[in-house]
């Protein structure tokens, strides 16, 4: 995840993708492909080839998972979000009833340590 690239880009979260392949089918530039590895749920998540994205949003709207795909048009907007030290991804915080007082990263589901 390099922040220096100014190109539009698509982020696909490894653990949130169910590998249905609808985005791969829909991408007008064929920039997405299924990974060979499994995620922890046993799916082959979609992977972005790394360049060529125009931020058209086709994959975002064809994806049935609420948070699996994010599309960024302007790289400056990256800086608006916090990054998890564990996984390096942008995250939001959530809490678990079983672990009172602790915060977890929505991206990797690990505890957030500042």
């Amino acid at each position: 995840m390099s922040k220096s690239e100014k190109n539009p880009k698509v982020i696909i979260r490894w653990e949130e993708c169910k590998g249905c392949g609808l985005c791969i089918e829909a991408c007008p530039f064929d920039l997405l492909y299924p990974s060979e590895d499994f995620n922890s749920h046993g799916y082959h998540p979609t992977v972005y080839v790394g360049e060529g994205c125009t931020a058209c949003g086709t994959c975002f709207y064809s994806c049935p998972e609420p948070g699996a795909i994010s599309v960024y048009k302007i790289w400056d907007e990256w800086t608006e979000f916090a990054y998890c030290k564990n996984c390096g991804g942008e995250y939001k915080v959530f809490t678990r009833e079983t672990h009172p007082g602790k915060q977890f990263c929505t991206n990797c589901q690990e505890e957030i340590t500042e």
């Binding site: 249905c20 609420p66 960024y72 302007i74 939001k92 929505t106």
Partner: protein
């Protein structure tokens, strides 16, 4: 499109912590399910229109039942097919809210056929999203009213036939024949072009509700890869080529341009006229006495439990009726179920000087137990410092907890001595008003006659209440 970032809409929870299990990031939907896409389109629209905070989502039975895991809006789950009726109630009681009824084909077209037609005919200011995937998804692929001719399902393994099951129902066309609906459209989630059209339809439908309080109905042809036994990509292709062939896409009715908007005012009788119409006489209750009780700051959650037939439910009714005569906020809700047949019955009563959010009682401050199973079942739930009233002539085992006020009353024995065991509940009413000092004894005794249906029994009921009061007085 002005947005420069496309990301999980704010109208979704950040993490779906209500879900069972450990994975709070993904939905319960199968890979490639149309529900996820439509959820996203709706959530995005709610965020963009800035109405997330006043939106109510009604999810009925079917795969979409778990929408309340995901949508960070007000959620109500309705009985099978009844979502438009529930949505009607929500919209009418709070006309400023945005109410969405989100239903599948089995739910809307089969069991809920009457509700949707009548809600549409009344032109309720709600938005209905009708997800049509031509099959019952959650229950494992049975035939739905929208299943195509020849389509094999769990219950029609050789395919739906005209002779046995008849033609698939085109709901949008039916709704479009009604006068009241403002906007009826059929879209599909078949490819990116059609998804973008669906997005427009979703936004237009919500706009009609927000701006004009009109009824809008969006039928969404959607893929169910699991039950069609296809890959997600093939299932979308099937939606495009087969499903959309029988269910033609397009706007079925659109009068939004000329629709003047529906008034949000409620057509109710003026409160002042109701007593005249119902022939209710003016209350003789002394307002000064009431002030001593209703002016206090209190909130009692009362659970009353016992065998069916002991007057458990009517004890609750008497308490709440008397509460009303003291100008309290009250609620009463019985527990129905298999317990009705000879087992235990129970009801929940709230008495408060503030508005009551929910009639349910999870942690009672007062427990009235009229048989042993009720003590076993509810003793652990009572709030610390709460009260347990139990019928010691029927329960030989006292509650074990020592952080409560426990009052043993031989209610059934006292009632027997008065001549009928049926008024044991009134003995307990007497004990409760004396012990809890919630209500004026004078008012309860005076107005008990208005609550008891059989006028011959008013006298003996009054006696029972006196006995209960006396019993507590003699304890001291």
């Amino acid at each position: 499109m002005s947005k420069t970032i496309l990301r999980k809409p704010e109208a979704f929870y950040d993490a779906f912590t209500r879900k069972a299990g450990d994975d709070f990031l993904t939905t319960t939907y199968c890979p490639g399910c149309g529900h996820g896409i439509l959820h996203k389109l709706v959530a995005e629209a709610l965020e963009d229109f800035g109405v997330q905070k006043k939106t109510m989502f009604v999810s009925p039975v079917g795969c979409s039942v778990f929408a309340y895991y995901y949508m960070d809006v007000g959620n109500v789950q309705a009985a099978h097919g009844r979502a438009p009726a529930v949505a009607t109630a929500l919209k009418r009681s709070n006309p400023e809210s945005v109410v969405i009824s989100y239903q599948g084909d089995g739910d809307l077209a089969a069991i809920g056929g009457a509700e949707i037609l009548n809600a549409a005919n009344r032109g309720e200011g709600i938005t209905v999203f009708f997800v049509n995937n031509a099959i019952y998804g959650m229950t494992g692929g049975q035939m739905a009213p929208t299943t195509l001719i020849g389509q094999p399902t769990m219950t029609t393994p050789l395919g739906r036939t005209l002779e046995n099951e008849g033609y698939p129902i085109r709901m949008s066309e039916i709704i479009a024949t009604l006068e009241a609906p403002v906007y009826v459209d059929r879209v599909m989630l078949g490819d990116i072009k059609s998804i973008r059209q669906a997005r427009k339809a979703v936004r237009k439908a919500l706009e009609i509700q927000i701006e004009k309080n009109g009824f809008s109905f969006i039928e969404v042809l959607s893929a169910c890869p699991s039950n069609l036994k296809m890959t997600p990509v093939d299932a979308q292709k099937w939606v495009r080529e087969v499903l959309a062939d029988y269910f033609p896409l397009g706007v079925k009715k659109d009068i939004s341009a000329t629709f003047p908007g529906k008034s949000k005012e409620r057509h109710l009788l003026p409160l002042s006229e109701i007593p005249t119409i119902l022939d209710i006489k003016e209350s003789k209750i002394n307002k000064d006495i009431i002030q001593n009780f209703s002016g206090k700051d209190f909130h009692e959650e009362i659970k009353i439990a016992g065998f069916g037939g002991q007057g458990v439910l009517s004890l609750g009714i008497v308490l709440s009726e008397m509460g009303m005569r003291h100008d309290f906020e009250v609620s009463w809700i019985p527990s129905y179920g298999p317990e009705m047949r000879g087992g235990t019955a129970n009801c929940s009563v709230h008495l408060s000087n503030k508005k009551i959010g929910s009639p349910v009682v999870d942690r009672p401050t007062v427990l009235v137990a009229m048989n042993l199973p009720s003590i076993d079942k509810f003793e652990k739930d009572v709030m610390e410092g709460g009260y347990i009233f139990y019928d010691s002539s029927l329960i030989n085992k006292a509650p074990k907890r020592n952080d409560l006020h426990v009052i043993a009353i031989p209610a059934t024995k006292i009632a027997d001595e008065l001549g009928t065991t049926k008024i044991a509940n009134m003995v307990i009413v007497g004990a409760m008003i004396e012990k809890l000092k919630l209500m004026s004894q004078e008012i309860v005794i005076d107005s008990i006659g208005e609550v008891i249906k059989n006028k011959k029994l008013i006298g003996i009921n009054k006696q029972a209440i006196y006995k209960g009061i006396e019993f507590i007085k003699n304890l001291k």
